[in-house]
């Protein structure tokens, strides 16, 4: 029997994976994907808790998060594209013009 705790542990693992990916990887696209992983950890938690609490609210919240994530990525990719045009690279370490 799969219980709430199993879902919560899985989502914590997903969030941790995303977190590590964001911190360790320097390719901007992979960093984007890591953020998506973290957002999906939140979605999994919402849906699992919605089932636990027996209500549709959590599932609706998950849908909202998906919509927000899509909006965020649209803007993020546009900025990344603008950066790529100027620098010809998607490596985050190459973005280091701003210094004291």
């Amino acid at each position: 029997m799969v219980e709430l705790n199993h879902y919560l542990i899985l989502s914590a693992l997903l969030f941790g994976l995303g977190l590590i990916g964001f911190v360790v990887r320097r390719n901007s696209l992979i960093m984007f994907m890591s953020i998506e992983l973290m957002l999906n950890a939140a979605n999994l938690t919402f849906v699992a808790c919605a089932r636990h609490h027996v209500g549709a609210e959590g599932s609706v919240l998950a849908l909202l998060v998906i919509a927000v994530a899509a909006a965020e990525v649209a803007v993020g990719l546009a900025i990344l594209l603008a950066l790529f045009r100027l620098k010809k690279t998607v490596n985050a370490d190459e973005a280091r013009e701003l210094r004291a």
Binding site: A42, T45, G55, L83, L86, L98, A100
Partner: protein, 472 residues
């Protein structure tokens, strides 16, 4: 539902303005952005005036308890609409000077203002999240607005990555809190807060980390100097003043209604507040770029404000709330004033942003130099300026809530901050001007904003009672 809509006009008015400005640009392309500017200012002015509504009608909640219409909401919405209104004036001069299209910038500012209005009225975690996203996403674009400049796009890119990272902390925290309480409404979440389950504790911590990024609290503040340096000057002013106000509005309402006064939470927040004051002020000591200096100074101010938030959690009914709002009012006025004055010089390259470019400004531009000196003295908290009373009331609240260590730290770090604020004043007044007289924009509107903000700093420094009464 429709009746509710009429009551939340300050929230949808900027949104309507945003859609109108964008539509107008597609349907009836304009030669310049003056129509867009008038539309923007009209919707902001409407939001500002209609924000006073709740006080006349008494405190209520609308949309099934998700939005609160009370004095608290009113104070914050008035402040945010006011800041945005003043910032649009400097936007006009700035974008004209840089020969950039300004219409989209106005639209984006209106979208961000909609998000801020939502954040300060939110009584539901999901509304808080949506508001924060709605204020963040337009700001990523605004930061990278000069899209052919390496530095600007880099700043926008960094802001986006860190912002999205922070948002995922916030939403994961909200998901866990929802798991613990079965609802996202503040009233019901607060009921679950009493049971102190592990899920709730972790969720709250995650949410606070996410919000910590947004208010640039240490150790989550490293993005601020880069982003402040990269963004167009009026946008930086908007971020420093309005975003901080909105984020603290959301945090303060959480502190009043949701966050339980558990020792672990208070200890954690105290450490963050102390660290923020120390890191902000130490960071500012070494800066030679005035935008980075103001970025670190805004981090330091976030630290002072966090003391007020902690005092609110300890005793939600105390005057700490109005002390924080008063501080935000004064901070917003001096920030808008400082950034408006910097718009006069219009330079964004490394030399233009260097403090040495301000040398001897008192001889070439005496009025601007005086205004700038006033802003910096007020930020330092010198008596007879607005900043003094802001800090004084926060200190009083910290003392009343028995936060001795944080009170002492506030005084010590404020003394430290005197060094870098006064260094700017010395540069303005006691150094010989370097090179030729630097050119400035001529704009009556810009001068009027500067004059009004400068006067407000002095008046609030001498006679703060009316504003304090208004905020109670």
């Amino acid at each position: 539902m429709i009746a509710d809509l009429a009551q939340v006009a300050p929230i949808w008015m900027p949104a309507a303005g945003f859609l109108l400005v964008l539509l107008m640009e597609t349907v009836l392309p304009q030669k310049d952005s003056s129509t867009a500017l008038s539309l923007t200012q009209l919707s902001l002015l409407g939001a500002l005036l209609l924000a006073f509504g709740p006080v006349a009608n008494g405190d209520t909640t609308v949309f099934a308890g998700m939005l609160a219409l009370d004095r608290f909401t009113m104070c914050f919405q008035v402040l945010i609409a006011g800041i945005a209104l003043l910032i649009t004036v400097s936007c006009e001069s700035y974008f004209k000077g840089w020969k950039l299209a300004a219409t989209e910038a106005y639209a984006l500012i209106l979208a961000a203002v909609t998000g801020m209005m939502l954040v300060v009225a939110a009584r539901d975690l999901m509304v808080l999240f949506l508001g924060i996203e709605l204020l963040s996403i337009p700001l990523y674009v605004l930061t990278a607005y000069r899209r052919l400049q390496d530095t600007a796009v880099e700043g926008g890119f960094k802001y986006f990555l860190i912002g999205a990272f922070a948002s995922s902390f916030l939403i994961y925290g909200i998901a866990l809190v929802y798991g613990a309480s079965g609802s996202t409404l503040y009233a019901q979440v607060a009921r679950a807060a009493g049971t102190s389950s592990t899920l709730f504790t972790i969720g709250t911590a995650m949410m606070l980390i996410g919000l910590g990024f947004k208010i640039a609290a240490a150790p989550f503040h490293h993005w601020a100097p880069d982003v402040y340096q990269a963004a167009p000057t009026p946008v930086t002013g908007f971020m420093a003043a309005a975003v901080k106000t909105a984020a603290f509005g959301g945090l303060l309402r959480l502190a009043m209604e949701v966050l339980p006064a558990t020792p672990a939470l208070l200890k954690g927040l105290s450490v963050i507040a102390g660290l923020t004051m120390i890191m902000g002020n130490l960071g500012a000591l070494l800066q030679t770029n005035w935008k980075r200096l103001l970025a670190y100074s805004s981090v330091a101010h976030a630290g002072y404000l966090l003391i007020g938030v902690i005092a609110t959690i300890v005793s939600p009914e105390s005057d700490a709330v109005s002390a924080v709002i008063f501080y935000l009012f004064t901070y917003a006025i001096m920030t808008v004033c400082a950034f408006t004055i910097m718009v006069f010089f219009l330079r964004e390259n490394r030399e233009g942003q260097d403090l040495s470019s301000l040398r001897g400004l008192s001889r070439t531009h005496p009025y601007l130099a005086f205004g700038l000196a006033l802003c910096f003295l007020s930020m330092a908290g010198i008596p007879f300026t607005a900043g003094f009373f802001g800090k004084f009331y926060l200190l009083l609240m910290a003392w009343k809530a028995d936060m001795v260590a944080l009170s002492v730290l506030l005084i010590l770090t404020s003394l430290l901050s005197l060094y870098y604020y006064l260094r700017v004043v010395v540069t303005l007044y006691m150094k010989a001007p370097s090179g030729s007289r630097s050119p400035t924009i001529q704009s009556r509107a810009l001068s009027a904003v500067t004059l009004a903000c400068g006067a407000a700093i002095l008046v609030l420094g001498l006679y703060p009672a009316p504003l304090l009464e208004f905020l109670h």
